[in-house]
């Protein structure tokens, strides 16, 4: 079971790479914001999987809760900025 979780972690890291490609490459700024959103969702899940892997979920789950909330604040700030400023 532990090795299974380890492979899940490596696979998630590779998937984050795909999103990172979109963040780096994205033609418009909104692509980058979307990629950031996807990365943070992945990071939340990756945190919980790391916690399960090291059998200390109770510590890691608090961070992932915080992550979800912070992600909301950041993305809303970016969206509001872009809505008022228009495309750079």
């Amino acid at each position: 079971m532990t090795t299974f979780f380890f492979y899940v972690m490596v696979l998630l890291a590779i998937l984050i790479g795909a999103y990172l490609y979109r963040v780096l490459q994205g033609p418009t700024i909104f692509d980058r914001v979307l990629g950031l959103n996807g990365i943070s969702t992945k990071a939340i899940i990756l945190f919980i999987v790391i916690g399960t892997y090291s059998e200390r979920v109770n510590m890691f789950i608090d961070i992932s809760t915080g992550y979800a909330l912070i992600n909301l604040v950041g993305a809303l700030a970016v969206a509001k900025y872009l809505e008022q400023k228009g495309l750079p």
Binding site: I14, A43, V73
Partner: protein, 176 residues
């Protein structure tokens, strides 16, 4: 634990940092810095330093991004595109040399997770065994930070407080 998981995370970190330096647009650089903080927080989490990871996520990814955006919002630059001059010859020589020196120095350090290194022979066990009796704090990191090094932490807090007051004094609006 044969394959170290930190290697893909570090690769992602390197790619993000290089992207944040090389990207042509100020907004995108801000977003890439946020991504960088996410990855750094993942690395801390993987090493087991959960509170550091939490601080990194809150300050780096959340607060840092919002503050950068507020700065962009307040200064309202006409053109957020960046123009970089090509690096000078001195930079190209000095920085690889510095990196090489640092790596050379790091090769002298004891192996990571080595049970017989000086740090894990007598410092860490002492803290681990005695911190609860000394301070009655369940978390060792908190015990070190708040009890053994409490004066240090207090003065750090004073410095940050002074910086905050200075920022408020500089940025406040004059009410007529």
């Amino acid at each position: 634990m044969i394959f170290p998981f930190e290697i893909p995370l570090l690769l992602l970190l390197l790619v993000t940092a290089a992207g944040a330096i090389l990207v042509k647009d100020l907004m995108s650089a801000v977003l890439l810095l946020g991504t960088y903080s996410f990855f750094l927080s993942l690395v801390w989490g993987w090493f087991g330093a959960v509170d550091v990871a939490f601080v990194e996520a809150v300050v780096g990814a959340g607060l840092g991004t919002v503050l950068f955006l507020l700065t962009l919002f307040g200064t309202a630059p006409k053109d957020t595109r960046l123009h970089r001059p090509p690096p000078s010859l001195l930079t190209l020589i000095v920085f690889p040399l510095l990196g090489f020196l640092l790596l050379y120095a790091a090769s002298d350090l004891p192996e990571f997770r080595d049970p017989s290194s000086p740090a894990s022979v007598h410092i860490s066990p002492t803290y681990l065994e005695q911190s609860y009796q000394d301070t009655h704090t369940p978390n060792v990191v908190t015990a070190v930070l708040m009890d053994y090094r409490s004066l240090d932490t207090m003065v750090e807090t004073v410095v940050i407080f002074a910086a905050g007051i200075a920022c408020i004094l500089l940025l406040r609006r004059q009410v007529k």
